[in-house]
Symmetry: C2
Subunit: 201 residues, 2 copies
């Protein structure tokens, strides 16, 4: 932890996530989803708690959407927990994946997969005195996108078509940061194929 | 979202969490843990993605520790994901549980349960220009407590006896906020009984 306390200028996006299939064959479901998704546009490392993925924003969102969808289409009840991050001070290492082109490797294969999701997200714009208005603006954006579900303590509920939810999340992650306030964190929880969904599409 | 943008002065602590047993009988494990824990000192509400718990800090930590331990002792591979929060602007409703006394209802029943945990945590001290040094101080504290595992992108790894990890987390959550910077968020992920733990106690 001897980093210089300087503000990161790298546009690299990071995501630390876990996928939790609530089924005895959870290993098979996780490994199958990771195998089926094309992860070649991002750097990934898995430990015993979570997986970290780093790269261009478009590829991080494309890759994680594919991983979640491939786990979902097994029909298992799957939970996704992720923390997206950009602009973390000191976070400028491993930027080689920023040289990838902008062609999405997963989107053509996954765009037709239908999946309902119930989700909760929270934004943490760091060191921004106006952070609450940033959050309220993004909640209003969720309503415009038609994916807002409900207000709640410590998060906002989203639901609907999983592609629309991911599109909103990526757009929100783009808008909730600025040149002045570069360090943004967004947490996302998703519940898929849950026996307790009420608003299932 | 029509709240006044004022700073919350309530000392109420909130936790939004999910418990994910990676087993076919996940409902039984979750319901069993919630039944076995004494939750009478906190307010709780469950939806289809997560559960929110609010109350005095000591009771929130006591109650969630019990819920996690009762799920863990089934032997199932269980993941815990939680966001602790205090001082969120506008967050002053439902404070009735702050009138509870300080007697821990779960600690006497759970203190002897042995459990290894591998965990990752992150602190988000909101609107605090000095937030990175707050984070580094808390990582140093994890080392002093003997629960630090490793540095990583977007989180810090903790592991060891689950009681020691929870004790550190509660102490860190206390120290990473101040009268000046009241709004603090702490995310915690835990992996229990995982087939991929390397440092199992
Ligand atoms: Ca109970």
């Amino acid at each position: 932890m001897e980093q210089v306390f300087s503000c990161g200028t790298s546009p690299i996006v990071g995501l630390r996530f876990s996928l939790h299939p609530m089924a005895d064959n959870f290993i098979e479901i996780i490994k199958g989803a990771l195998r089926e998704a094309d992860t070649s546009n991002v750097w990934m490392h898995t430990d015993d708690v979570s997986t970290v993925m780093r790269g261009k924003q478009i590829h991080v969102f494309d890759t994680v959407r594919a991983i979640v969808l491939y786990a979902a289409k097994t029909g298992a009840h799957v939970a996704f927990n992720g923390t997206f991050s950009i602009g973390c001070p000191g976070d400028s290492a491993g930027d080689v994946f920023l040289e990838k082109d902008d062609i999405l490797l997963n989107e053509p294969q996954i765009r037709e997969i239908k999946q309902y999701v119930s989700s909760q997200f929270a934004l943490y714009p760091m060191n921004n005195p106006d952070y609450m208005s940033v959050i309220y603006t993004e909640v209003a954006r969720a309503k415009e996108h038609g994916v807002f579900n409900e207000s709640m303590h410590y998060a906002s509920g989203l639901h609907g078509d999983i592609h629309q939810v991911f599109t909103f999340l990526e757009e929100s992650f783009t808008h909730a940061r600025s040149d002045q306030y570069k360090h943004l964190v967004m947490t996302v929880n998703m519940s898929i194929n849950s026996p307790s969904h009420k608003g299932d599409a």
